[in-house]
C-alpha cells in the first residue's frame, strides 16, 4: 500500500503535481484562517506554475 502511494505520488510529481494531502495538511496547520484550494484548483495552479515561466524547462 505504501509502495503504491509512492508510485502514485512519483507519477504525479513527474508531471509537476506534488502531493495534495501535504498541501492541505500544510494549509490546515499553518494557515487555518485561509481556505485551501480544491484539488482541481490545486492541479490548475501547478500546471500554470510548471509552464508559466517559473518552472524549470525540460531537457533535450
Amino acid at each position: 500500500m505504501k509502495l503504491l502511494a509512492l508510485v502514485r505520488d512519483g507519477l504525479r510529481l513527474m508531471v509537476g503535481v506534488p502531493s495534495y494531502q501535504t498541501y492541505v495538511d500544510h494549509m490546515r496547520q499553518k494557515h487555518p484562517d485561509r481556505a485551501a484550494m480544491s484539488y482541481p484548483e490545486f492541479v490548475r495552479d501547478r500546471q500554470l506554475a510548471r509552464f508559466g515561466g517559473k518552472g524549470s524547462p525540460r531537457c533535450c
Partner: protein, 683 residues
C-alpha cells in the same frame, strides 16, 4: 571482516565491469552479447555512486543532515515541499531525460560502440553527474535559485547576463534540432505522420476532459489518452494502406517544417491546460514506460552486437557526421555523458523539493547515472542492427542515393555489405516505403527498439507496430519539449529584453508575449528550415552546434561550481569540477576552431561558404541548391552558423575568465566568501 562485507560486493562489481569491458573491447568479429555492455556500465555506475559521489558529499560539500533545506524552511505545499527521495528521483529523472540521450549515442555509433560507451561512462561519472549534483547542492543552499541568479550572485552581474544569454541560445538550437529529428522521422511516412498528428486532437480531448468533465483526474485521463494513442498507431496502418488517406498524410520535409513552425507558435500561445499539459502527461508516462520496457527487453532478449567495437570512421570520414574522434565524439554525445542543460533543471524545481540535504546525492548524482544508462541502451539499440542497415539509414542522400540499389552499393563500398533486397525488406517489415537516409537517429533507434520489442513480444508481425510506437514515443516528447521550450524561451527572452525595456517583462500582457513567442519560433524555425533544406541532411550541421552549445552551458555551470568551492575555502577539492571544466573547454574550443577554420567544406562553415561562394561567382549551381538565390542562401547560412560558433566560444572564454578572477579573489580572501541563504555560518 566488516571491511570485507562493506567493500566486497563492490570489488565483485569491479571485476564484472573489467570482464565486460574487456569482452566488448576485444570483440574481433565474433558474436558478443550486448548484455556485457549493460553489465559493465551498470557496475561502473554503482561503484562510482558508492565511492565517488560519497566522497563529494562527505568531504567536499559536507552535506549536513541536520541543516534545514529550503523545502522545509519555506514550505508552502506548492513550490517548496519536502518530498520523499524516491519520488523526487523520479521527478528529476523525468525532467532531465529526453531525446538527447537517445539520439546522440545513435549518431556516435558510426565510430563503433566502444568510443561512445567509454565516453558515456567516464563522462557521466567524472563530469555530468558531478555537474548535476554540485549545481543541485549550490541551489539547495540558496533557496533553490536558478542558474542565472546563482551566477549573478557568485560571479557578478555581467557573467550572470552572459549565462542567461547562453542559456537562451542553447534553447533555440535545442528546439531546432529536436524539431529537425521529428521532421526527418516523419517525412514521407503517412503512418508516422498520422499517429503524431492524432496526438493533437487526443490531447485537446484530454485537456477538455480534465478541465470540465472530470477536473484534476490526471491518472484517469492519461489512461484514456494512452489507449487512444495505441488505437491511433494500429489505425495508422490502414491510413498508410489507403491511397487517398496516405496521400493526405504524406508530407515532404519542407511541408512538415512549416507545419511544425505554425504548430509551435499556436501551441505556445494556447492555454496550458488545453494542449500542453495533457501532452505532457502522455509524453512523460510513455517515455518512462518505453525506457523501462527497453531495459527489460534488452536483458530478456540479450541481443548480440553487430556493429564493430571501433569502426574505420574514427578517422573522421564517416557519412553520418564529419570530424575526428576528438573533439567531435564528445560534442556528438552530450546528453548521457555531460549535459549542460541539466544545470537549469538542477537549479529549478528539484532543489525546492529536497527534504534532507543528504538526498541531493541520490537525486542529483543518481538520476544522471540513470540517464547515462538510458544513453547506453540507445547505443546498444543502434549497435545490434546490421551495420549495413545502420549506415543506409543514417547516411545523407548525397552519399547513398535514393534507391535500394544505390544504397546497397554505397554502403557496401564503406565495408558494410548489405543487399538491396534486405534494405527493401527491412522497410517493408517496419511498415515504411523506404528506410534509406532516414537520418536524425530517431528512426534508427525505432528500428532497434522494434527489433528488441518484437523479439520479446509479438514476433515479426508486430515489428511495424513497435517501430511506429517508438517513433510516436520520440516524436511525442520532442513535440512536448518544443512546445514547453518555446514557452520557456519566451520567458527567458522577455527577461533578457526586460533588462533593457522593463515593460517587456509583463508576462500576462499580450503584446510582449506574442512578440517574444514570435521571435523564439522565428529563431528556431530559421535553423530548422536551414537544416531541413540542407543537402547533407541538416543533422550534420545542427547536431554539432547543439552539442557545442550544451557543452558550453556545462562549462559555465561547472565554472560556477568551481568558484563556489573556492569561496567555501575548499579549493583543495576544486579539481572535482575544475577538471571536467577544462576538458569541456578543450572540446568546445577545438570543435569551434575546427568548425570555423577547417579547410574541409564538410566540417568548416567558412570553407563550405567559400566553396559555394566561389561557385556562385562563376554562376555555377552546386547541389542541392537549385537556383542562384538558394546558392546565396547556403552561403548566408554558413556565415550565420560560423557566427553562432564564435558566440559560443566567446561565451565560454568570458565565463571561464570571470570564473578564474572570482576564484583568485576567493583564494586571497581569508575566510569563506560564498553567499549561502540564509547567510551561512563559516566553519
Amino acid at each position: 571482516m566488516a571491511k570485507l562485507l562493506k567493500h566486497g560486493p563492490f570489488v565483485i562489481l569491479a571485476v564484472v565491469a573489467a570482464i565486460g569491458l574487456s569482452i566488448v573491447a576485444g570483440n574481433r568479429g565474433e558474436e558478443v552479447s550486448a548484455l556485457w555492455i549493460v553489465f559493465a556500465a551498470a557496475s561502473i555506475y554503482v561503484i562510482a555512486y558508492r565511492y565517488y559521489s560519497k566522497f563529494i558529499a562527505d568531504r567536499v560539500m559536507k552535506l549536513d543532515a541536520g541543516r534545514v533545506t529550503p523545502a522545509v524552511r519555506l514550505t508552502d505545499g506548492l513550490d517548496y515541499v519536502p518530498t520523499n527521495k524516491y519520488v523526487l528521483f523520479g521527478h528529476h529523472f523525468a525532467a532531465i531525460a529526453g531525446a538527447g540521450p537517445l539520439v546522440g549515442p545513435v549518431l556516435a555509433a558510426q565510430m563503433g560502440y566502444l568510443p561512445g560507451l567509454l565516453w558515456l561512462v567516464t563522462g557521466v561519472v567524472l563530469g555530468g553527474a558531478v555537474q548535476d549534483f554540485t549545481i543541485l547542492f549550490i541551489s539547495m543552499r540558496r533557496d533553490g535559485r536558478s542558474l542565472g541568479e546563482l551566477i549573478r550572485s557568485e560571479l557578478g552581474v555581467v557573467p550572470g547576463l552572459i549565462a542567461l544569454f547562453g542559456a537562451f541560445i542553447i534553447m533555440v538550437i535545442l528546439l531546432a534540432v529536436l524539431a529537425l529529428i521529428v521532421v526527418k522521422a516523419l517525412a514521407d511516412s503517412p503512418w508516422g505522420t498520422f499517429t503524431v498528428a492524432a496526438t493533437i486532437p487526443i490531447a485537446l480531448f484530454m485537456g477538455v476532459y480534465a478541465r470540465f468533465i472530470r477536473p484534476g483526474k490526471i491518472g484517469e485521463v492519461s489512461v484514456i489518452g494512452l489507449v487512444l494513442l495505441m488505437l491511433a498507431i494500429v489505425f495508422g496502418k490502414n491510413v498508410a494502406a489507403d491511397p487517398t488517406l496516405a496521400a493526405l498524410f504524406t508530407l515532404t520535409a519542407t511541408q512538415l517544417c512549416w507545419s511544425l513552425i505554425v504548430y509551435g507558435f499556436v501551441a505556445a500561445v494556447l492555454p496550458v491546460w488545453l494542449l500542453l499539459a495533457p501532452r505532457d502527461y502522455l509524453s512523460t508516462f510513455l517515455k518512462i514506460g518505453a525506457i523501462v520496457s527497453l531495459a527489460i527487453g534488452i536483458v530478456f532478449l540479450a541481443p548480440s552486437l553487430k556493429m564493430p567495437a571501433v569502426s574505420v570512421f574514427v578517422d573522421g570520414t564517416g557519412p553520418v557526421w564529419k570530424g575526428t574522434l576528438f573533439p567531435f565524439l564528445f560534442i556528438t554525445i552530450a546528453c548521457g555523458a555531460v549535459s549542460g542543460f541539466h544545470s537549469l533543471i538542477s537549479s529549478g524545481t528539484t532543489p525546492k523539493l529536497l527534504a534532507n540535504e543528504l538526498d541531493a546525492r541520490f537525486v542529483g548524482y543518481g538520476a544522471m547515472l540513470m540517464e547515462s544508462f538510458v544513453a547506453v541502451m540507445a547505443l546498444v539499440a543502434a549497435s545490434i542492427l546490421e551495420p549495413g542497415i545502420y549506415f543506409t539509414m543514417n547516411s545523407p542522400p548525397a552519399v547513398v542515393g535514393t534507391t535500394a540499389e544505390s544504397a546497397s552499393l554505397a554502403v557496401g563500398k564503406m565495408g558494410f555489405p548489405i543487399s538491396a533486397e534486405t534494405i527493401t525488406e527491412t522497410a517493408l517489415e517496419v511498415g515504411e516505403t523506404t528506410i534509406i537516409s532516414r537520418t536524425g537517429g530517431a528512426p534508427t533507434l525505432a528500428v532497434g527498439m522494434a527489433h528488441v520489442f518484437a523479439g520479446a513480444l509479438g514476433g515479426k508481425g508486430m515489428k511495424a507496430f513497435w517501430y511506429h510506437f517508438a517513433i510516436l514515443f520520440e516524436a511525442l516528447f520532442i513535440l512536448t519539449a518544443v512546445d514547453a521550450g518555446t514557452r520557456a524561451g519566451r520567458f527567458m527572452l522577455q527577461d533578457l529584453i526586460g533588462t533593457v525595456v522593463p515593460s517587456f517583462r509583463a508576462t500576462s500582457s499580450w503584446v510582449p508575449a506574442i512578440t517574444a513567442t514570435g521571435i523564439v519560433v522565428g529563431l528556431w524555425g530559421f535553423f530548422l528550415y536551414q537544416g531541413v533544406t540542407d543537402p547533407l541532411g541538416g543533422i550534420n550541421t545542427l547536431w554539432p552546434l547543439f552539442g557545442m552549445a550544451n557543452q558550453m552551458l556545462a562549462a559555465i555551470a561547472l565554472t560556477l561550481a568551481t568558484v563556489v568551492f573556492f569561496k567555501m575555502k575548499r579549493e583543495r577539492y576544486a579539481w572535482i569540477t575544475a577538471v571536467p571544466t577544462v576538458w569541456l573547454v578543450l572540446c568546445t574550443m577545438s570543435a569551434g576552431l575546427a568548425k570555423l577554420f577547417s579547410d574541409d567544406p564538410a566540417i568548416g562553415f567558412n570553407a563550405h561558404a567559400r566553396r559555394f561562394g566561389a561557385a556562385l561567382e562563376r554562376g555555377e549551381i552546386l547541389a542541392p541548391a537549385k537556383s542562384l538565390e538558394q546558392m546565396s542562401q547556403v552561403v548566408a547560412n554558413d556565415h550565420i552558423n560560423a557566427v553562432m560558433c564564435l558566440v559560443f566560444m566567446a561565451v565560454v572564454v568570458a565565463i571561464v575568465g570571470f570564473g578564474i578572477r572570482a576564484s583568485l579573489r576567493a583564494l586571497r580572501a581569508e575566510r569563506w566568501t560564498a553567499i549561502e541563504l540564509p547567510l551561512a555560518v563559516p566553519e
